[in-house]
Amino acid sequence: MKYEPPLEKISVNIRETVLGQGEKSVKIGGENTLPFHSFEGSLPNSAGLALEVLDTQPENWAPSVLEPFEDVVSDPVKWAKKCVEVYGAEMLCLRLLSTDPMGKDRSPEEAAEITKKVTDAVDVPFIVWGTDMEDKDAQVLMQVARVCSGKNLLLGPVVKGNYEKIAKAALEHGHAVVAQASMDANLTKELNIALCKFFPPEKIVVDPTASALGYGLEYTFSIIEEIKQFGLVDKDKMMQMPILCDFGGDCWRTKEAKESREQGILWEAISGITFLLAGANLLVFRHPESLKLIKEMVI
């Protein structure tokens, strides 16, 4: 008798989300099987890998993560170009750090103007990220949505306290959003339900707030796994969104990363591959070498 390996066929898909526009647009998600289970189902899109760009000079960055960008950190447009042209990034994450009300407190108008310039300069898809300040993020991202109308940006983080404002602007101007609920599958579902009352589910990416190795990576792993299982195995429609992990900041804060370039890069790469194994669909990297390592491993 011939041995037939038992296969688990799943009848539903993680939603496919398109980011950006035109030839360089990127698709994430779309799988109908668990991570890397290509023997059981289809994984039509490889994970999205983005490099980070700040809208202002980084402060307190470890020397070895600053080094690749040293000549461009004073200009986000040049920084973005270098990421794409030199480091081959297929997607970028523009972090609007200067809007932080506890820091430079730049206005939504200024932030939107910078975002427009940067996103006009290179044609890859963009994640545009606030500062985790609910109210300010709402003002900033609404303005960004308007000024960059039609660019299909991925705006985030969108949380319980500001999702209505940001998602309405995103809907009106053709962008996607990142729904963020911290390390909790129930709250992830809750926010998705609330969003889906007026927002298309295929334009939502979820962020469980990833913690890198040494910061609670195990918890992140479990939450990502849970979200995927609920979505695919239990067929929960509100849990079938692609998952984003943003963890470069954690990695490069470690003593090990500050002391050694190699350790920092590995720290970031190990965290990233772990999240992919759990089921993440979109990763944000700080160091181009870490991104390259992951790319070599999985793509």
Partner: protein
């Protein structure tokens, strides 16, 4: 189903104050209300009573017994207060609660043996709360064997599988369901109880009772003997006393049928069906479970 009214509880500020000031009126009112609503037992939760445990317990039990003939569930972590209460109880009391921890084995369980009372025995042990149904089984077998050795028969043991809030850990709710179905095979003759309100801790206020009611019907079907509930939740009482049989029937169907046809249901029925599905673990809980 034996219903134990939970409302006489020191955790509510008002009761705490009147106990301290020995003001009998509000206590009597609370007791009379729950008795009138058809509770079978009343829980008297006095907390750890650090000050004058003996006098406080005697006073409150006598005050309660002035207005009700119902048997009482004595709820304190202080063994001195517990014993003082047992001394003055007119009916066979329920000690609420003991557990498998060393401390509880040394202080609470001997009282249950000495006074031949009933005792709530939770599945908690020195290692904490068991993670699943099998671990609950192992823990309770061990603790019950210890209790039996002290001379407490299974019939006096009211097992508490420990109900956690569904918003905290949905899997613990499903392992509760799994465990309660095993209980009679594990400990023939033993009874069971739980703190029902804990299930909906953290849930939206207006939906708490729906979760509690639905779950109580579900575990009743699996042989649950009793539960500690709000003595003022009229809808729960009506449901559990069989006055709304069509809803009970619907909950049973939602427990069994994989693809229950929701389209034919009224708004109220739909709420019960969705709640049952979420409590069975068929869909992931979120505070807006009724909206999907």
């Amino acid at each position: 189903m034996i219903l134990i009214g939970e409302d006489l509880n020191v955790m509510t500020g008002e009761i705490s104050r009147v106990i301290k000031e020995r003001e009998a009126g509000p206590i009597k009112e609370c007791v009379a209300g729950q008795t009138k609503n058809g509770m079978d037992y009343l829980d008297v939760n006095v907390g750890p009573v650090k000050k004058d445990p003996q006098g406080t317990m005697e006073w409150i039990i006598n005050t309660v017994q002035d207005v009700t003939d119902l048997p009482l569930s004595l709820d304190t972590t202080n063994p001195v207060a517990m014993e003082a209460g047992l001394e003055v109880c007119k009916k066979k009391a329920l000690i609420n609660s003991a557990s498998g921890t060393t401390e509880s084995r040394e202080t609470m369980l001997p009282l249950a043996a000495k006074y031949s009372t009933d005792v709530v025995l939770s599945v908690i042990n020195d290692a904490g709360l068991p993670a699943d149904a099998d671990e609950r089984a192992a823990s309770i077998m061990d603790s019950a064997a210890f209790a039996n050795e002290l001379g407490i028969p299974n019939e006096n043991i009211w097992v508490d599988p420990v109900l956690l809030p569904i918003g905290v850990d949905q899997r613990q709710v499903t392992s509760y369901l799994e465990f309660i179905q095993m209980l009679q095979d594990l400990l023939p003759g033993a009874r069971s109880t739980c703190g029902l309100s804990n299930l909906s801790y953290g849930a939206p206020r207006e939906l708490k009772s729906l979760l509690n009611r639905t779950f109580l019907i579900m575990i009743g079907r699996y042989g649950q003997h009793s539960a500690i509930v709000s003595g003022f939740d009229q809808e729960l009482i009506r449901l559990i006393r069989g006055e709304v049989p069509e809803i009970v029937e619907l909950i049973y169907r939602a427990m069994e049928e994989e693809d229950l046809d929701l389209s034919a249901l009224s708004q109220k029925e739909l709420e019960y069906a969705k709640t049952t599905q979420v409590l069975m673990g068929k869909s992931l809980y979120s505070h807006s479970w009724l909206e999907v």
